[in-house]
């Protein structure tokens, strides 16, 4: 077995040293009812690297990779070009095979990276402090709601109807157990978000208002109005961002008055990976809220010789110290994804991120205009960054998405899949466009969408 260095001679020598006659002697404390007579049945025996590779490739080969088709999916996960050097860095064994930096003297690489990462995220979000990452955007969203309850000592969260429905579901799932009251809503199919409706739901019992920016339909609005309304009632504004590239083109949520900014960092450096691992980003605008934050924080300090160094800090908030009184039960974060994000963000820099955002927006505008010319298609949004909603005249988008896939085009995410059973949203299709989208892709989508809506039979997908 290629991963097991002990030889039979070693094993015999070691058993002798231990004073055991066989390996079974070391498992004597396992009760008879759980003793097995050999390897577990009904599973294969060990296999060579070559055989395993063949097995895994047979699975991978059944999937249509985003890079092999015109691709327009978003809704919380976006396909961006990741520079080659990002993967080179994260595959360095010193990063890949390290643990949480509990021994800071020999973990300065991870710690300095986290300090840089925290700074990048805080600046991107327009906040004072960001943590060292959480699991993903949806769990970060829940952690923000929980934190707002701790800060305001209130238990009612008002969710915008245009918050990603999976994020809303995660929040509602957790709230069942913590006793938080969640006031949610469904998105209204309007060209602009209904901010007045949202504001009218804020009252003196409200701990926080949760707004996605840009929202699930791709719409953008000035959050400062919501921030003012929330603050007037003593509530916090939580802004959720699922596409960090957008913040290269639009004002940061912190700048618009959000108190806690959370989001999904996957777009920068991480890749699609069928939904995980991703990267939860979490930041607060006001440094006085730092001690209520969940998750790991890296801070600067000095060593015994006076040299600058970094450590995990404020850990009295955390489960391994506070146990049942911790701010969260989180232990592992998303360290390697944070590294990928940080490396990619360092390659981009201010200039690259702004150019990347502009290019995304330019191509999205081009796509929106092109699709709006397809008979039976109308564009919902007046404003958007790189994702927008189109309405399909009299056709459920879910069926059209499947039809497009048969035609070799990954055409978008249907709101019917995100909001099953909600009739008003059935005909809406979310279309995302990034720098990886080519003009040929846009043409293909427009043509195939035309045919699909016209009910023309799908041909064999182009290879």
């Amino acid at each position: 077995m290629r991963y097991l260095p002990l030889t039979d001679t070693d094993r015999a020598d070691m058993l002798a040293k231990i004073g055991a006659s066989s390996i079974d002697d070391l498992f004597v404390d396992v009760p008879a009812v759980a003793q097995l007579d050999g390897p577990i049945h009904d599973l294969p025996m060990h296999a060579s690297e070559m055989a395993v590779e063949r097995h895994m490739k047979s699975r991978a080969g059944k999937n249509l990779a985003a890079g092999d088709a015109p691709f327009f999916l978003g809704a919380g996960a976006y396909r961006h070009h990741v520079p080659a050097s990002v993967d080179t860095v994260i595959q360095r064994g010193e990063f890949l095979t390290a643990y949480t930096p509990y021994q800071p003297e020999i973990a300065q690489g991870t710690l300095q990276m986290l300090f840089e990462f925290q700074t990048q995220v805080a600046r991107l979000y327009g906040c004072a402090v960001a943590n060292a990452s959480l699991y993903d955007g949806s769990t970060a969203c829940w952690e923000a709601v929980a934190m707002a309850s701790r800060v305001t000592k209130r238990k009612r969260a008002v969710l915008s109807g245009a918050l990603h429905p999976h994020y809303a579901q995660v929040v509602k799932t957790m709230a069942q157990f913590t006793g938080d009251e969640i006031a949610d809503a469904q998105p209204s199919i309007q060209t602009e978000p209904d901010l007045d409706g949202l504001i009218s739901r804020i009252d003196e019992e409200t701990a926080c208002v949760v707004v996605q920016y840009p929202d699930i339909l791709g719409r953008i609005s000035d959050l400062s109005k919501v921030a003012e309304a929330a603050h007037a009632k003593g509530a916090l504004l939580i802004a959720v961002n699922t596409e960090p590239v957008a913040l290269g083109a639009i004002k940061s949520p912190g700048e618009l008055g959000a108190d806690i900014v959370v989001g999904e960092g996957q777009s920068i450096g991480v890749g699609l990976q069928f939904g995980g691992p991703y990267l939860g980003l979490f930041a607060v605008r006001d440094p006085k809220h730092v001690r209520q934050m969940p998750g790991r924080l890296c801070g600067e300090t000095t060593d015994a010789e006076g040299k600058r160094g970094f450590v995990l800090t404020l850990s009295t908030r955390e489960q391994h110290i506070r146990r049942e009184k911790a701010t969260s039960n989180i232990c592992t974060n998303s360290g390697l994804c944070a590294l990928a994000f940080s490396v990619h963000m360092t390659l981009l820099g201010e200039k690259g991120l702004r150019e990347l955002a502009a290019e995304n927006h330019r191509l999205a505008c081009m796509t929106a205009d092109r699709l709006a010319q397809v008979p039976g298609v109308s564009l919902l949004n007046t404003a958007f960054f790189n994702e927008f909603t189109i309405m399909l005249d009299g056709k459920p988008a879910r069926e059209i998405v499947r039809d497009l896939a048969d035609r070799g085009v990954l055409g978008g995410v249907s709101l019917g899949r995100l909001y099953p059973g909600v009739e008003a949203l059935e005909n809406a299709l979310l279309v995302a466009v990034t720098e990886t989208t080519t003009e040929d892709d846009i043409d293909r989508l427009a043509t195939e969408l035309h045919d699909a809506l016209a009910g023309t039979q799908a041909k064999e997908p182009a290879q």
Binding site: L43, G93, Q120, E324
Partner: protein, 520 residues
């Protein structure tokens, strides 16, 4: 039994009067291959970038609702060569399994096979969208289904939830299922029992789920006190959370008896699977009466720890809890198609407690873990557990004559050996010994955990260390232990040879500096 260091070689710490190493200071602060590296904010510029993108056409119209960014973000960029060098230099200030022995107890720092990395990067896995039409991702759904099947068979449990993102998230999944099951029958139980030796995540999780946490006392031999536990069971106890093998490194031999008693009292049994590596392929927790157990794919199944994640924490369930599992999950139709159950309403879905995360779980970890399982097979995984346990017992019996081992007489240890700092000389403590081990070229074991042993040192060698590696570690460990017993005060300043000396954690917490501020 414990042979002295055969080579007779003994390290000589050459420390000058000022407590520093020999040799002159360098102008750069570098020490040959040990290179100091500034922060990106000190070397990067807002106008520098390492990517080639089209220049912004300022005249192009935008549709950004009037919230166009007007202020700078405050980011800096580096070109590719500068970026690669920056992170390469940082990486060299890190200790990883690739570099040496990393016996961090309860973390299972085993070798991370590179085939796993290669497979996870196949475009058919790495470049697919979580909401892609299901007909276009049949192979991905198959992998999730296949991995779930392995986990069920290895644990002897009928059902698995794949979406939890890490161990603590998996614990939460299990406890929420327990709470949902009680709620479903209108049984409002308030208390979860957790042993004192448990990981901090256990009480934090139970408290989060709305339970009061009560300690289960341990016996002198380091196991759950079954009599006391049984006494406490009653109509208010929702369940127990027990780590098995436990954090003292011992198998809970009365686990079945405990489980039966908990079930009889109407409660459920959560098993923390953090230590599954000791029994994988050899013992099935399902045979011991477990109702829910999370499995850390980043421990037992070799997915990389990555400097603190990402992890992955699927949870296996008994028949009783399976209906409450979170969405989404993968099923296979009679026609052999794989599909996702994502909707709470449909016929496919039981009384689920809801959704824990946006998508389907840590696919990148699933491909790595399945690759690992296929490589080992049922026979190889059994050997994994046996070698892990053998290595730990070898360490225990090679050090117990010199180092206090509180549970050495409680039978064989499982995959980790526990020691305490009793009899250390002067005011030396476990921390000093750990830092001295750093100078010897090792990542220290887990220290001060579990809390039930003074100055605890938890050593988990894993099965991927050779005997030669263990022998060298034992030699080094004996030498630092001898120094600690003798009260060698130079240990108070260790490490001497790491990229940094001891860091001032008190100052870091008193006046937190958590992000870079540009100089005025």
């Amino acid at each position: 039994m414990n042979a002295p260091n055969k080579s007779g070689w003994k390290p000589q710490m050459e420390v000058t009067e000022d407590g520093l190493h020999n040799g002159p200071m360098t102008t750069t602060g570098n020490r040959a291959l040990m290179l100091e590296e500034p922060l990106i904010f000190e070397i990067g510029h807002s106008e520098t970038t390492g990517v080639d993108l089209p220049e912004i056409d300022e005249s192009a119209p935008t549709r950004l609702a009037g919230v166009e960014r007007s202020e700078p973000i405050g980011l800096v960029g580096l070109t590719e060569p500068e970026t690669v060098r920056h992170y390469t230099r940082l990486s060299r200030q890190n200790y990883g399994i690739d570099l040496g022995f990393f016996p961090l107890g309860s973390c299972t720092m085993k070798h991370n096979p590179r085939l796993n990395e290669k497979m996870a990067r196949l475009p058919g896995f790495a470049d697919i969208h979580p909401l892609a039409p299901q007909q276009s991702v049949q192979g991905a759904l198959q992998v999730i289904h296949e991995l779930g099947d392995w986990l069920c068979k290895l644990t002897g449990m009928p059902s698995v939830a794949m979406s939890p993102k890490a161990g603590a998230h998996g614990e939460l999944c299990g406890i929420l299922a327990i709470r949902a099951a009680h709620t479903a029958r209108g049984d409002a139980r308030r208390v979860v029992l957790v042993p004192e030796s448990a990981h901090g995540t256990n009480p934090a999780t139970a408290a989060f789920a709305g339970y009061e946490v009560e300690d289960i006392p341990a016996t002198a031999e380091g196991r759950v006190d079954v009599a006391k536990l049984k006494e406490r069971l009653g109509p208010d106890v929702a369940g127990v959370m027990i780590t098995n093998p436990n954090t003292c490194g011992l198998f809970e031999k009365d686990f079945r008896e405990i489980a039966d008693a908990v079930h009889e009292a109407g409660g459920y049994v959560y098993c923390d699977g953090a230590n599954f590596n000791a029994i994988v392929g050899r013992v099935r927790p399902g045979d011991l009466g477990v109702d829910a157990m999370h499995i850390n794919l980043h421990k037992t199944f070799s997915t990389p720890h990555g400097g603190g994640g990402p992890g992955s924490g699927p949870v296996v369930f008994s028949e009783a809890l399976a209906p409450y599992a979170p969405l989404p999950f993968v099923k296979k139709s009679d026609e052999g198609e794989y599909y996702l159950v994502e909707e709470e309403s449909g016929d496919e879905c039981g009384p689920t407690f809801g959704r824990m995360t946006a998508f389907h779980g840590q696919m990148g970890m699933f491909t790595r873990a399945l690759t690992y399982m296929l490589s080992h097979g049922a026979d190889g995984l059994k050997q994994v557990a046996e070698d892990a346990v053998l290595n730990a017992n070898y360490v225990l019996r090679s050090l117990e004559d010199i180092l206090y081992a509180p549970f050495a007489d409680s039978g064989p240890c499982m995959h980790e050996a526990l020691f305490g700092d009793k009899d250390f000389g002067g005011d030396l403590s476990t921390l000093d010994l750990a830092k001295a081990l750093i100078d010897e070229g090792y990542h220290p074991m887990t220290v001060y955990f579990p809390l039930v042993v003074h100055g605890a040192m938890l050593v988990e060698p894993t099965e991927t260390e050779s005997k030669a590696s263990l022998d060298q570690f034992i030699t080094a460990f004996r030498s630092v232990t001898e120094r600690a017993l003798a009260g060698d005060e130079t240990m108070k300043q260790a490490p001497y040879y790491a990229p940094r000396r001891r860091l001032d954690e008190t100052a870091a917490a008193r006046k937190p500096k958590l992000s870079w501020t540009d100089p005025e």
